[in-house]
């Protein structure tokens, strides 16, 4: 019973908005715009659940003196300070809030991003082994493209940069397209199952 109301809501809204796509009228457009705006407002309070969860998690760690509980203070402290500054001082350029963003948060974001250069190297070294025909194709194709992108490659064979680009544009595109068809059919089928109430993972349980 408790789950029938949400299921009915999904059914009605799902059909309504699938039809809305094909109707350009004023009413239909307004319905769409309003829903997008409402959706933002609806999702705001969910942040409270997330904050509750993270505070609980770290408070428990600190109370039980679990391994590394000191870092939970760092986490909670950083979150509290950043929130407090954001509320009191405003978020304009040049303020303390934006400075913390520019000189603490952003550098760590881009460093995490840049760490990928290392991970690509170690992953390639470990995995690009000619264990099977498929693995060999994978490794050769990566090999050719990498060589084609640096000056040495062009010096070895002038056609290499062109070949590496062709591989990106032709075979790569063909395989992506094949996968995309499957994704399109699969996601449309899943959406339909949600609308029809057959896919219920979002209700919390599969019952």
């Amino acid at each position: 019973m408790k789950k029938n109301v949400p299921l009915a809501i999904v059914l009605v809204l799902g059909v309504l908005f699938a039809v809305q796509y094909f109707v350009p009228s004023r009413l239909s457009q307004r319905l769409y715009d309003t829903t997008l705006e409402w959706d933002i407002i609806i999702s705001i309070p969910a942040l409270a659940i997330a904050v509750d969860s993270l505070v609980r998690h770290h408070v428990v760690r600190i109370r039980q003196r679990r391994k590394g509980w000191g870092y939970s203070w760092v986490y909670l402290g950083a979150a509290a300070v950043m929130t407090a500054i954001g509320f009191s001082g405003g978020i304009s350029e040049g303020g303390l809030f934006m400075n913390l963003f520019t000189f603490a948060l952003a550098p760590m974001q881009s460093t995490m991003f840049a760490i990928l250069a290392f991970y690509m190297t170690s992953a390639a070294y470990r995995a690009f082994r000619a264990r099977s025909p498929e693995a060999t194709v994978l490794l050769l194709s990566a090999f050719v493209v990498m060589l084609g992108l640096i000056p040495v490659g062009a010096a070895l064979w002038r056609g290499l940069p062109g070949l590496s680009e062709w591989m990106m544009q032709v075979p790569n595109m063909a395989s992506k397209r094949g996968i995309t068809f499957g994704i399109g059919l699969g996601s449309a089928a899943t959406i339909l199952k949600i609308i029809l109430g057959l896919e219920r993972s979002w209700l919390g349980g599969s019952e």
Partner: protein, 380 residues
Amino acid sequence: MTRATGPIALALLLALAGPLGAAPAPPGDARAYDTPDDQGGSITVEWRLSPDDAGTRLAGYEVHRAAGDTGRFQPVGQVPRGNTAYNDGEAADGIDYRYRVAAVDADGAASAPAEAGPARAREQWFKAGKANVLVATALFVAMVLVFLERARRGRLFIRRLAGLDAVEEAVGRATEMGRPILYCLGIGLLDYISTLAALNILGQVARKTAEYGTPLVVPTCEPIVHTVAREVVKESYAAKGRPDLFSDDMVYFVTSDQMGYAAALSGIMARERPATNLFMGYYAAEALVLAESGAATGAIQIAGTDQITQLPFFITACDFTLMGEELYAASAYLSQEPLLVGTIKAQDFGKVLIILLVAVGSLAALAFRSDVFSGWFGIK
């Protein structure tokens, strides 16, 4: 000599005549019509370029409008040279408008106007340009319904997915080693299909961990997904009769920052040393950060995503990867709901249909040398 001077003089005269004040040549073939597939309130005016458009003399075109048969022409807008259309978004529905389009040069001199209209703006109730999408949608819905009905009547065959055995094995391995399983739902929102599939698989994995008493760790990245994931795990433990094993600490929110989440998971993997890492759902660049940090700890890793750009990295760094549609199929298969198998059949039928249509369309296009077929699939 004398014979040659005549034409040269004439040419000079013609060349000078342009810049020296004469109005530019008018645009041609103007027409006005209700803008299609819209909510009304708009009329489109089209014309052919003025012959003077190619030079640098022309500034652009000015569009004037008059309401009804007797209204006075008022300027409504202008567009720079090189344009052949103007969208009048200020037209009231149901009123006849007439239009005039004139070419204007840099000094403001206008050509004789080209007339168009009358035209009337109307609100449409169907997007004619999306008819192909409507057909595709209707066809697909019908296919799914038919196969659902067939699934209800009897068992349909679906081949066993290699990835499913890998998931079960990985859960078993963690149990044997007495180490936790890390389940990562990605950074997507709840309404991403990959997130829903990941939640579905999480439910099945949680049932197994409840049964065997294997520790489970689910750090989340999105508030609403977090909320649902917590319920999914809680109910799975309840369903297996082990609500005592569930703790609030299993599913916890970390941060919604993409790279912050990756940093936190790297730390968790290094410290808690899970025996098995499952990465299911929507991923962006952090995919390889997660998979390589996990590989360094020696964990068995299984990934599944419909993000094609991240698949190459999961394939290289994980032990098994569910690619695109396989992720959805795995989630349907694991739930062991016979009806869900029906939709997989419908998807397969869709694939056959796509191949046939592309083949027939290509052959026809080549045989009749016509773009009609690709045109119909194309959307402006």
